[in-house]
Each structure stands twice: as C-alpha cells, then as structure tokens.
C-alpha cells in the first residue's frame, strides 16, 4: 500500500472511529490508565463481534442456536483478520496444515505466533479457511486503528453447568469415567463457532463399544466429540476412564480432553469465581498431561502456551532455580526465563550468573560452539566466574517499555483467541540488545578459554582427570579431586619451600607424578603438561619446552622456581638472546670450576639491557642454575662448539666478549676464561684483546640500562654523583636507533646460536608415532604425500566422522588437522571438482569424489 493510500485510509478510519466508536475509545482510555481492573480481569477479551452471541446465551449457559447466533458467528469470523499470518517465530521444518487452518482469531491475538503443530494430514476446515480473504481495506484500517475494546457486558453469561469438577464420576454410554474435569451434557454452545463445544460429551450420542477406534483412524484434524465417529467416541471414553495416561493413545483424544480444560480456564474462568478457584488443579492437570504427551510437538506447543498464559497472570514471586542448561534450539526464551528476568528487573535485583547463562543460551540466535556443549559443567562455572569478575553480583536490567505478555492461541476451535495475557507489573527485558551483546561476549570468552580442554576431551572422552586435561583446564576452574596431578603440587611446594629456586631431579619428579610415562623418560608433550600443571601453582620448571630446550635425560637435574605474579607463557623476542647469553655466560663463569655470586650478578647485569619480563628473568636465573647443575663436560662442550660453522664461531666469540664487557670492566680472570673458550672455539685469542678494547670503549649504558647512580638513603647533596663514564664516552652521543639495531642484530645472532645449547634429544622421542599397523603402505592418492594419503585412506573407510576422531587420526600421523583436511579438499577440487569432505562436526565423506580422486 502506498503511503498516500494508507493516509487516506487512516483518515477514513479516524472519521469512523470518531462517529461510532467514541464511547468505546473513551472506555479504552479509562481502562488503559487504570491498571488495576485490567490486572484483575486480565483474560477479558475484546469481544465486539461476538457480543450478541454471548448475549443470546441464556442464564444457564445453554444457548439456542438461533439463526441470529449463526449469522453473528459468521460475521465475527469474517471480520477477524487472517489467522494465516506468517508465524513470527522461525518455522520448524515440518509445518503442518494446522497452522494454516486455525479458528478465527481476534485482532489483538492475531499477532500471536501459532505454535507449530505437526498433526495428522487433513484439509483445513472449510469454514475457517473461507473466512480469511479480501477484507475491504477501510474496514481493516478501522480494525487496526481501534484498540481492543472490551465493552461492558450487560448480561454476563454464567459458567457452564455441565462441567464435572475434579473427582466427580460420570457414567457415559455404559462407561464409568471417574476424575471429572470434563463437560458432560446436551447443551454447551461453542464460544467461537457454530454448534456444540468440541469438548462437550453428549451422553445421548451413539458409542460403538465393539470397534473402538484406538488408532484414531477416523478422527479429523479438528475433532469435536459430537462430530467424531461412534468408534472414536468409544476409544475416547475408554481413555478417559483408564486414567488419561496411556502414553500411546491417539493424540486427537488427548486434544479432545484438553479442549475441555482449555475452555474451563479461558471461557468459564473469566466469568466464574468458582472456575477461577479451581485454576490450580486445572493447571496441574495440564502439566500432568504435558509430562505424558509432551513428546508430541503439537501438544507440547499448546499445553505449554496455556501454562505460560496462566503463569503470566499469576506469577510466582519466587523465581526459583534457572532451567537446566540445555543446548536445544528454541524459537524464543521460555516464559519461565522471561518472567524471572522481568521479576529481577522489577525488583532491581542483579541477574544471577546462572540466569544470565540460561538467558543467553536460550536465545534462538545463540549458537554455542563445541567446547560449551562438550564440557557443559566447566562452561557453566567458567561463565559464572567471568560474569562475576565483570559484573559483580550481576547485571541489573532496566525495565523496558513493553509489558511481558503471552499470546494464547486456543487449540480448540470452539474458543475465541483471547487478548494477550499480560501482567502490568512485569516488563519484557529478555530482548535487551545491550545486555545480550555483553553476555554473548562473555559466553564466547568462556568458550574460547575451554577450547584446549575440550579438544583434549574430544580425543580422550574418559580423560577428564588426566594430567594433560588438567594442564589445559582454565586456571579459574577447580581441579577434580581424583586428578593424578594432585600429588605433584605438594611435592613441588615441599621441594621449593621458601627458596626462589631449587635443583631437583627428573627421578624425583617422575616419582611424584602418577601420570608419568612408565618408561620414566619425559617426552616433549609430557614436559609441556608438567610445566602447565606447575604453572597452576605458580611454580616454574626448567628446562621448559615452551622456552626452548629439549627434554632432560633421565638422570639429569631439573630446576623448580617460583614464578612472578605476571606470568609469561611464551618467550619474548629478546628471550632467545638472553638464553644464549646465560648459556655462554655460565660457560665463562664455570671455566674455573665454580660459579661465584659475583659472576651471577655480572650475568644478570649483562641481561639488564634486554627487554624481558620479571618472570623471564626468574626463569633465566633458574636456567643458570640448571646449567650449573648439569655442567657440560669439556668433551661435550668441544663437540658442540666444534659443530658450529666458522661464521657462527666468530659470532659466538663476539657474544662472549660482549658479555665479558657488559659491565664495562674486564677482569684478568674474565680474559683468561675467554682465552680458554676462544681456543675451544678454534678462534684466535689475539682477537680478544682488540675486540675487548673496542667493546669497552663503545659499550655505553643505554637509556633503559640500570646503572647504580647512588645508593639508598637520604641524598647527600644536589651535586650530581660521578658516574663510571670515561671521558672517552662522554665525548660523543650514542645514536639510540643504531644501538637498538645493534641489539636486534646480536639478538638474531644469539637466536641462531641457541640451538647449540639444546640438549641432545632422546632418539625415541624424535620419531613420530607409527602409523596404524594395518595401513602399511598404500599408494599415494591424487598427488598427496605419504601421510596425507594415509589420512585419505582412513577417511574413506566411513561415511561420516566425528571431528574428534579425525583429530586423533591426524595426530597419529603427525599432521595438523585443519591443514591436512584443507590439503585433502584442495586435492579433491583439483582432481574431482568437488570437496572430499563437508561439514565441521561430523565430517561427511563424499565417496564419489573419493573414487574420482583415485583415478
């Protein structure tokens, strides 16, 4: 509709409202401003077209189906806007005709999303379908503009007297039905349609007891007791008499019964205090049915909708516990959740972490990644930790402008759709974009933190207490009581005591670690795990694979040390250079057989200009202790140095001299050590003297160099203290940029040298795990190399693979999972024009493509 046309329509509409509907509008305003009456009678539906119908209902609740009533009912249907609106909720795959052929709806409720109803295939009820099309636009505009107008009821209808309350027994057609909660009688006009209410059991109607239609074959989609076959009636009555709990009964019978409960709650409930009083037992009955028949999506939809509608008008103040963390997709957050959030917001109370998580996980556009679904417990706690860190007690939600409302769409076609149920005290807060965005980020953060842990569990489903799992468990989470790693920590703490570092042995370490490899030899992966485990207690380990160096041999020493508060878990760029410096420096220091405290101080001073964190400095100290504890024998040293190329030897010599000259003084002892080392390096010792001279002359304290200018205590005077600077150095200014470049250059050189200090690796650790024995050597496929071909052959054995298993396969072959998969698919595209695998978890394998790749 163009803008001009709609404007005209609106004008006409306003005119009509002014002329005809002023009283109604005034009344509406009155009701809008006074919340209390609305609250007390929340279920009062706007009833313009059906007023006459109800007026025709006599005091006993039994109406004569006069021609007038029929016409009115029809008109009511015609006047109602279409109920075949596209559902506001995302549609579930199996969309049945039910949603397309529901009874006429009132305007206010027409916006309600109908619950999807997978149901038996039937043609839509013709009466309902015909009434939906081609309303004159003017009239529609009137309806849209005019608010739902509850008019005073001059002659309020009385509740139906054919209702059998809870516990009342009835004998119907020879069957004794106990339990009540049904309508039994001969007159109960439907509220919204022609004829008797679908739920009314008319005992006069024939019942075929011999052939009860237990499977509901004769039932149609909108059953009514008066319309169904005698055989179906027999089956229905049997089910009623049998306790209404046979889980395998045809669902249409459950609906027939449900229609009655629905009518009692919605129609009688709003006019009869008696019916209102029994609401609790009716709701309990619906809830009971839901536990039995909730597996049927259609029934679940209606029953839950009814429970929600009843809950919103009479909320429980106590919000209770949040719903279980489920990862099932739902079209919108459950009402329990929305109400709880609204209650919290109304009370100005922070949202507890568990509710915040329930909220975020129930949003339809939240898709949690595998770590969250694989480790729900850890995810929940981690989310709570991060949430409290960020928001203290929790977010406080500002009440929104809309009331919390539930639209109800009756299952029974005999009932008009009531106005949305709402509670003016509660505001809708579950759609606040700002809060959602904040929570989503937190959920993503927690998921990312759990990635490594989750991946381990994916490969080792029973490995939750393995040391390798604990090692990657986020530090904020508690360690399971039965984790093998728990024995490690007391030992390490005991060894370390108050000392900053302590030398221990591999044997002791292995003896106190239950998950140690049975061979007693620590591999690279074991060392990473050990280092991460000790990290959790703030203890560092040297050697640490993450910071260079290989695994220690069985009889070698290791060093435990106390980590700094700000931990560094990967080496800084300067660390390699520092490590080489420490190694070489220790060689210099140990040349005379002992390492003096002064030498260590000198070593630290040599490291001072480097950009290292406090944690790294602590680690370097530990490394120095390690070198001292595992001194390389002269033979090993000579062998290692001999392995260097000539160019590298020269660089090593330069580095040694730089260290020696780092503090600006060169002692004869140092020179002697340098001479020894130079001879070992095969360098000419004569170079030392000239280089030393030059180094001492040009080594200037850089801006970030720590130079003792004065000692602690009160300043003696304002006169600048003399520094150690020689006159030669003050004569020129150092170019800081050049200095930085030089430093970077030496860092590079040191990094290259670092490899000579790597421990010899045990031979067994180098070889990758053997490929599975039953795949000795398959021919190479599609130009792939050996390992990728092996992976290919494994993958094509099955149709689909869980991601975790593919990761294990790749790990067995020493491949990176994603990289290998990418390589396979690229080869598949090149050879066969399509992908070999698709999906993320699980991966599905296309065997046609695989065949093409073979050729």
């Amino acid at each position: 509709m163009s803008r001009g046309a709609s404007k005209q329509v609106a004008q006409v509409a306003i005119l009509i409202i002014l002329v005809f509907l002023v009283p109604a509008a005034v009344l509406f305003v009155v009701r809008r401003t006074g919340h209390a009456p609305r609250n007390r009678t929340p279920m009062v539906a706007p009833a313009v077209p059906d007023r006459e119908t109800q007026a025709n209902t006599n005091v006993s609740g039994r109406a004569l189906p006069t021609a007038q009533t029929v016409a009115d009912a029809d008109r009511g249907g015609n006047a109602a806007p279409s109920m075949i609106r596209p559902p506001a909720r995302p549609i579930v795959p199996a969309q049945p005709p039910g949603a397309f052929a529901a009874p006429p709806a009132q305007p206010a409720a027409a916006l309600a999303a109908p619950p999807a109803q997978p149901a038996p295939v039937r043609h839509p009820a013709p009466a309902a379908a015909v009434m939906t099309r081609d309303r004159p636009p003017v009239r529609r505009a009137v309806r849209v503009v005019s608010p739902p107008t509850p008019r005073p009821r001059p002659d309020p209808p009385q509740p139906a007297d054919c209702w059998l309350p809870d516990g009342v027994r009835a004998d119907i057609a020879g069957i004794s039905v106990s339990g009540g909660m049904i309508y039994v009688g001969s007159r109960l006009p439907a509220e919204a349609a022609d004829g008797p209410d679908p739920a009314l059991i008319d005992p006069r109607l024939p019942v075929d007891h011999r052939n009860p239609d237990l499977r509901g074959e004769s039932m149609n989609h909108w059953p009514s007791y008066s319309d169904v076959t005698p055989a179906a009636r027999a089956a229905y009555l049997r089910w009623l008499a049998g306790g209404r709990c046979d889980p395998d009964v045809y669902l249409g019978y459950v609906f027939l019964y449900f229609y009655g409960l629905e009518r009692r709650l919605l129609v009688d409930g709003r006019i009869s205090p008696v019916a209102a009083a029994e609401r609790a037992s009716l709701v309990a009955e619906v809830r009971r049915l839901l536990t039995i028949y909730g597996r049927h999506g259609s029934f679940r939809g209606y029953a839950q909708n009814l429970l929600d509608a009843m809950a919103v008008v009479a909320p429980r103040r106590d919000i209770g516990a949040p719903p279980e963390l489920t990862f099932a997709w739902s079209p919108e957050p459950s009402l329990a959740l929305r109400m709880a959030l609204a209650e919290l917001s109304a009370a100005d109370t922070p949202v507890p972490a568990e509710w915040a998580l329930a909220w975020i996980t129930q949003l339809p556009d939240t898709f949690l990644r595998t770590p969250a679904t694989r480790c729900p417990e850890q995810f929940t706690s981690l989310f709570a930790v991060r949430y409290r860190e960020r928001h203290g007690d929790g977010l406080i939600l500002r009440p929104g402008t809309r009331s919390l409302s539930v639209s109800y769409r009756p299952a029974s076609r005999g009932i008009r759709s009531p106005a949305p149920f709402e509670n003016p005290r509660l505001r809708e807060v579950s759609d606040q974009a700002g809060a959602i965005s904040v929570l989503r980020q937190l959920a993503e953060l927690a998921t990312t933190e759990l990635e490594a842990y989750s991946r381990y569990l994916g490969r080792h489903p029973d490995g939750a207490t393995d040391s390798a799992a604990i090692a990657v468990l986020p530090a904020a989470l508690p360690v399971p009581a039965d984790a093998a790693a728990r024995t490690l920590w007391p030992w390490a703490e005991g060894e370390l005591g108050d000392a900053p570092q302590v030398v221990s042995s591999v044997e002791a370490l292995v003896a106190h670690w239950a998950d140690a490899p049975t061979t007693g030899k620590l591999g690279r992966a074991d060392l990473v795990v050990l280092a991460q485990l000790l990290d959790r207690q703030g203890i560092g380990l040297e050697p640490d694979i993450r910071f260079g160096g290989g695994p220690p041999s069985a009889n070698k020493a290791i060093v435990l040390f106390r980590r700094a508060d700000q931990r560094t878990n990967a080496p800084s760029p300067a660390y390699d250079a520092a490590l080489a410096t420490v190694n070489l420096g220790m060689l210099v220091a140990m040349a005379d057989g002992t390492v003096s405290a002064q030498e260590l101080v000198a070593l630290r001073a040599a490291l001072a200009p480097l950009d290292l964190t406090a944690d790294e400095r602590g680690r370097l100290d530990a490394h120095a202790a390690l070198v001292a504890a595992n001194p390389p024998t002269p033979a090993v040293l000579r062998r290692r140095l001999g392995a260097l190329s000539t160019a590298k030897r020269a660089e090593a010599g330069q580095l040694l001299i730089t260290i020696a000259a780092a503090d600006g003084t060169i002692t004869p002892d140092e020179v002697r050590r340098l001479e020894t080392l130079f001879r070992d390096l095969g360098l000419d010792p004569n170079d030392i003297y000239s280089t030393l001279n030059a180094a001492a002359a040009t080594t200037a304290p850089s801006p970030d160099d720590l130079v003792t200018v004065r000692t602690a205590g009160p300043a003696a005077s304002r006169i600048p203290l003399p520094t150690r600077q020689s006159p030669a150095r003050t004569a020129f200014a150092l170019d800081p940029a050049l200095l930085a470049a030089k430093r970077a250059e030496s860092a590079r050189a040191a990094a290259q040298l670092a490899e000579i200090f790597a421990e010899d690796e045990p031979a067994a650790e180098v070889a990758p795990a053997e490929p599975p024995a039953r795949l000795p050597d398959r021919p190479s496929v599609a130009g792939l190399d050996g390992d990728h071909s092996r992976l290919f052959h494994r993958l094509v054995e099955r149709e689909s693979w869980p991601r975790a298993e593919v990761e294990r396969l790749a790990a067995d072959l020493g491949l990176l999972t994603d990289g290998a998969l990418e390589v396979l698919n690229e080869a598949a595209y090149d050879r066969a024009g399509g992908p070999l695998w698709e999906g993320t978890d699980p991966l599905t394998i296309d065997h046609d493509i695989a065949k093409d790749m073979h050729e």
Binding site: M1, S82, I84, P86, P90, I91, P93, Q95, P96, P97, F100, A101, V121, R122, H123, P124, A129, T132, R133, D365, T366, A433, I436, R440, T448, E451, A452, R455, Y456, R524, A525, V528, Q532, I545, R546, Q566, R567, T568, N569, A570, P571, S572, Y575, T613, D615, D785, L815, L816, T817, D818, G819, L821, E822, V823, E826, Y829, P835, W837, E838, T840
Partner: protein
C-alpha cells in the same frame, strides 16, 4: 514468460537443505547460489574478472550499490563463492554501530574480529577457517622442511620474512611460528592463543606478551594493515588471495558525528587508493551500500571530495549504456519476470532438481505472484524477501501434506510489505539487529 530456464546440473542435498533453510528464515544462503541466481550476467562477468585479477596478484575494489531489496547481500555472497572457486580466501562482515572501519573504542578491532571469524575457504564455506589457513601454511612448511632436511621453524621464519617489512609483520610471523611450536610440543594453549591473536581477540598488549611473547596486537589503528598482511599470508599459504566483503556500509552514513564519519571515509579512501593503485597484492575489497550512502553529497561518500573523484561514474555510461569496469557496480531491483524465473528455480530446488517432484504447476507460480501483487503491490518483487519466504513455506506445507490443494493454501498466504530498516535512525546506542543475527538479510534473490 514460462520458458523453462536451463537447470543446474547437479544439486547436492546439502546445498538444497541449506538454501531452503536459509530462505525460510529470510536470510541469504551461504552456498548453492548457482541454483537460484537469476540474470545479471554482465555483473557476474565483471566480478569474475576482478577475482581473476586478484588471483593473479592484483587487487580490486568495488562498491556494490543498490536499493533496499536489490540483492546486495546476495550478490556479495555470490561473489564470495565465485572467489572461493578461484582458490581465494574470503571473508565478510556487516558494519554496525559497534563495528566500524575507524574508531577509538575498539569498534574497528571488533570489525576485524568479525572478519576473522567469517573467514572461509572453498573447503570451509561456512566460516571459521582461519585455523585452516594457518595450518595449511604450516603444513606446507613442514613438507618443505622434510624435503630439505631442515626444521619447520626455520622454513616458517624464512618464508614469512617477506612479511617483516609490513606493519606488524614481524609479530605476525612470530605468532605463526608459535602456532607451529604449539603443535610440535603438544601445547594446545599456545595454539589457541596464536589463533586468538590472529583473530584480534587480545585486547591488551600485556596479555599478548604473556601468552605469545609478542609486543603488538591488532587494534583500531592497525587493523587494515593486518588485513593486508593476511592477504599476503594467504598467498604464502597457497591460496590465490583474500577477498573481503563489507556490507551494510550505510551504517557509516548513519554515524551522527561528522568527524567520525569523515575518519571512516578516510579509511575507505585508503583502501580504495591501495586497491586501485595496486599497492597491495592479492586483496579485493567489496563494499555493499545503498545509493544514499554513495551519492548523498552531505553525508555520503560523495561528501568526501577525494572519494567523489575516485568513485565518479563514467560520464558516457548514460541512457542504458553501462560500464562495468568502474569501482561502482549498481544493482537494479528485481522485475516480475525475474521473480517468475526465481520462483521456478525455487520450485526446482525444492524438488531436489527432479521435475517429476514439482509440487505446484506453472500456473501456481503466476497465481502466487498475482496473489502477492494484490496484497502488497510492487513490493512483492522489489523487496522480495517475504515473497520468497512465503513461497518456500507454501512449498513446505504442500510437501508435508500431499492431499492439500495449492489453491486452498494460496488464499491463506499473508504477505506483508517490508520497511527499510536502514532509513530508521539509530536508537540510543542500541542496535536493533542483534550482534549475531541479521548479518545476511535476504534482500533479494536476483542475480
């Protein structure tokens, strides 16, 4: 009008399901475009040329301009799939108030993170392929190392040395090396930190240094430099290049603060200059936006003089003459004929490509269009999101209820006109689209 369109050769079940599911929820599908594209051959030829140029180490920049519902998002997604076929790595993100090209409060980094999350390759068309790209590089490095008898470490350092001259390149190389170290030593934490760094998820340098030993992070100021780095890295990893689609550029137009708008346009200019002058290798950037974003001389891209000069259209391309080589690519809205062909395609896709399983006859298509025209007028083909959605819904009901007559259902189809949310001003700091939702709204299906 009812002439049969040539049917695509093979319709994979996964494509079919993805298309149907996406259309039913009103978003553009991520795969299977060839099955539902209609027309627009010249535009496709133009973008295919672009992709070839990028794959050859060149660069490209385009502004895909169209009215609400003209199919910009669909076109950009199609572009991504074309690029993926040419072995490009592709990624896309919508600009939002929280995701901009230039900002001081982390919004630019947020855009970068979003781009990194959506990285796709031919094998991983659904996004999340950043680790695949990194691992492919590392895998090739290990293969080379095995062949040469050196360590993967040294191969990685050597091959990434070319990145060092770029801003952030040294640290990028360090991070990739850290990824390899993490794999080599079984240090999952290190691997995951490396990926997080690449995704721009470190918010402080201190954290990045503690986790990875690098001094820089991706931040608001260097995120475009990192995109350029990534483009080079993709080529090093064996892909042809990187294609970036930035949709909903109208969000820059809607920025209320003139200075903020201008600084964002400056960033656009920087990208345009780099791509048009060939300063970058293997990078293509596509922007999607509405005509007012481009042409409003007060607030649009034309308000920025330098951009106006570069984006001005060929003066000869008037009166039906077109020039597809300029940076601006205009998309027209759908026509009823396009709509008809599209419905045909949808019916075909729904029937899994088997004409025997068509759920409705040809006359139903015209009847459906008539019905929609009665309800919403021209909007049914101009902004066809709802039309398509209802049509697929109709097919779904027919599929599940074999006895139902399509004529009965047709009467019940309710189509409502759509409004263009782009024209609504921002509410107070809130974004009516959720952070995860609304990223690819189906504006049209015309190609």
């Amino acid at each position: 009008m009812s002439s049969p369109t040539p049917k695509p050769a093979r319709l994979r079940p996964r494509d079919r399901d993805t298309i149907i599911a996406a259309l039913r929820s009103g978003v553009v599908p991520r795969i299977g475009f060839q099955h539902i594209q209609v027309g627009r051959a010249a535009e496709i030829a133009a973008i295919t040329d672009d992709v070839r140029r990028i794959a050859d180490g060149g660069s490209a920049v385009r502004f895909v301009i169209g009215e609400y519902g003209a199919g910009k998002t669909f076109f950009l997604n199609l572009m991504r799939s074309v690029a993926a076929e040419h072995k490009l790595v592709t990624t896309a993100a919508d600009l939002t108030p929280d995701r901009r090209l230039q900002a001081g409060g982390g919004q630019a980094r947020a855009l970068y993170s979003e781009l990194m999350r959506n990285i796709s390759t031919r094998s991983n068309p659904d996004g999340g392929a950043l680790s695949s790209v990194v691992e492919r590089f590392v895998t090739s490095a290990t293969q080379e190392a095995a062949a040469q008898g050196t360590t993967p470490d040294s191969v990685i350092v050597r091959r990434l040395d070319v990145l060092s001259e770029n801003v952030g390149g040294y640290d990028f190389a360090q991070v990739v090396a850290a990824y390899w170290r993490g794999h080599d030593t079984g240090n999952e934490q290190l691997k995951s930190d490396a990926v997080r760094w690449c995704r721009g998820e470190f918010s402080t340098r201190t954290d990045a240094r503690a986790a990875l030993g690098v001094r820089t992070i991706v931040d608001d100021n260097n995120f475009y430099d990192h995109l350029k780095l990534l483009a080079r890295f993709c080529r090093l990893a064996g892909y042809s290049g990187l294609l970036i689609c930035l949709d909903e550029m109208v969000n820059l137009y809607k920025l209320g603060h003139a200075g903020a708008r201008r600084s964002n346009y400056e960033q656009v200019l920087r990208i345009v200059n780099d791509c048009l002058q060939g300063n970058v290798a293997g990078l293509g950037v596509y922007f999607g936006g509405t005509p007012e974003l481009l042409m409003d001389t007060r607030r649009g891209l034309y308000s920025y003089e330098a951009l106006r000069g570069r984006l001005a259209e060929n003066g000869f391309a008037v009166d039906g003459l077109v020039d597809y080589s300029g940076p601006v690519l205009r998309l027209a809205n759908l026509t009823p004929e396009d709509m008809y062909v599209l419905l045909e395609r949808l019916r075909h896709v729904y029937a899994s490509g088997e004409p025997a399983r068509y759920l409705v006859p040809d006359e139903a298509l015209t009847a459906f269009m008539n019905h929609c025209a009665e309800r919403v007028g021209d909007a049914y083909f101009r902004t066809p999101r709802n039309t398509i959605k209802e049509f697929v819904n109709l097919l779904a009901v027919l599929a599940h209820n074999p006895g139902v007559e399509w004529r009965d259902l047709l009467r019940q189809v309710e189509v409502r006109p759509e409004s263009n949310p782009d024209l609504e001003p921002f509410a107070d700091g809130t974004d009516d689209r959720g952070p995860a939702g609304g990223s690819d709204e189906l504006s049209s299906l015309r190609i």
